[in-house]
Amino acid sequence: MPYLQIIDLKTHFPVKNADPIKAVDGVSLDIHQGEILGLVGESGCGKSTLSRTVMQLIAPTGGQVILNGEELTSLSASEVRHRRLDFQMIFQDPYASLNPRMTVFSTLAEALRTRQPKLAGSDLNHAIAELMERVGLDWRYIRNYPHEFSGGQRQRIAIARALAPQPKLIIADEPVSALDVSIQSQILNLLNGLVAELNLTMIFISHDLSVVRYIADRIAVMHFGKIVELGESEQLMKNPRHGYTRELLASIPKIRDTA
């Protein structure tokens, strides 16, 4: 059984005196445990809306999201809040997604306590140290505020925060596009390791097809709210079937000469 099943999911936004915007318009996807699914598509095609709908941050217009056999769309708000610990989102912007007035310690302590409310004292310190080590941050930064970090370090704090509640599913929306290639590589190595070690399931959204090819097992191509092509990643890159996928691959910029 797939770990995450998305069945005919629709999210429409009403527009005054006009047709609604059909941001997500009948998406069905099965994702298996431990799998990384790459999600690519034109700007505005509905990738972020699909993620937010799966995360139950927006109510769907229709369809179902079934996580580990349980239908999320039929749960009450408080049940969803509880389940949300199992699925975390890494937002595109590490600058905007961290609270500027909280130190790394308080950010991670808060995130850990969502799952273990009573965690305190040396157990808490221990758990935080473990998280920091996992994302490759030095303990000496523990009392620093977000603005005192570089972009890549901040992104790693955001990743540590997403890992703190021990999620089983992570949706990462453009997690590396704002970072230089060395830090991108560092984060990709980290995510690859985590998926292997913790058997995480991940949806990885990116416009950088070379990064998606590298990290994803399968790639889904989205176009105007629908999935138009889905396939094993190397296969899809080598042998694209849908016209839009071909157009996408043909537009990849290449480094002069070395390419």
């Binding site: 936004f13 527009v15 006009a18 690519v40 598509g41 034109e42 700007s43 505005g44 972020s48 809306t49 595109q92 912007d93 600058y95 905007a96 005192e148 570089s150 972009g151 890549g152 453009e174 596009s177 704002a178 970072l179 230089d180 290639v181 060395s182 830090i183 991108q184 590589s185 560092q186 990709l188 190595n189 690859n192 416009h207 950088d208 097809l209 070379s210 990064v211 090819r213 590298y214 990643s233 190397e234 157009e247 996408l248 537009s251 990849i252 910029p253 290449k254 480094i255 002069r256 000469d257 070395t258 390419a259």
Partner: protein
Amino acid sequence: MPLLEVTDLKTHFHTRNGIVRAVDGVSFSLEKGQTVGIVGESGSGKSVTCYSLLGLIPMPPGKIESGSAIFGSTDLLNCGEKKLCQIRGKRISMIFQDPMTSLNPYLRIATQITEPLRLHMGMDRKRALKHAIRALGEVGIAEPEKRIQMYPHEFSGGMRQRVMIAMALITNPEILIADEPTTALDVTIQKQILDLIKERQRELGTAVLFITHDLAVISEVCDEINVMYAGNIVERAGAEELFKNPRHAYTRALLKSIPALHAKGEELYTIPGLPPDVSQPINGCAFRPRNELGDSAKCLPNHRPVLKDTGAGHWVQDCPGCLA
């Protein structure tokens, strides 16, 4: 004479933890119609360089410690806010890295995009709106007449970025500063935007200062590329030359880290060590402890290497551990 000549720009932040030397002696120039790129480590001072040129550094804690930026007969660093206001958004415009901090969430897109037209070009509301709708169409927003009446939160990330681009181009600036203009865009729309900018350059001779982490994009669009590390330019060369023949150890390490060059599942190369703490004074070269691809035995401690022309406009910090 170049259109813009920046000499020895130093911008520091005086914080409770010490002096952050964000930009520490940067010089470059920009000719009419030319595209000059800046690449470099996250936090190396690329955005601060741009903000300094437009008088957008918060002071305090920021301070322009030295330098000049000559644009025509004006020194942008010393001309005063009134003069700068006439230049900013009209003769020099900027696409900011983060669209959400520069778009007002409470105003319709229409109001924001027509403002520079009414302010700098004296257009009436109706003409400005018509002009703005066309500009939105040019950056690939479908149904621009309908979309222009919406608010920023009703746009996707990449659509907001395109609104910023349309706003920056709408006054036909002489210089366009583009700070990560296409990070949120898929490759097809990215291509459309880069073509649009190129077309403007051909028609109007716009000069572009282009900042991005996407090395393929920068190699495609730029005539000349500057590589920044810890507030300094460490290497500068023509686009083809830089990728064919990178010389500084940082540039070489950066190019080696490109994920696209690795096979699936293979561990990706990353530059060892941490970025330097620029709030501490750095003796000599900031990259020395991380030089793994050059010959670090030949590094010169306590020596601040300077850029030297090694021929054919390829400038690199003159230091044996990198050039070895």
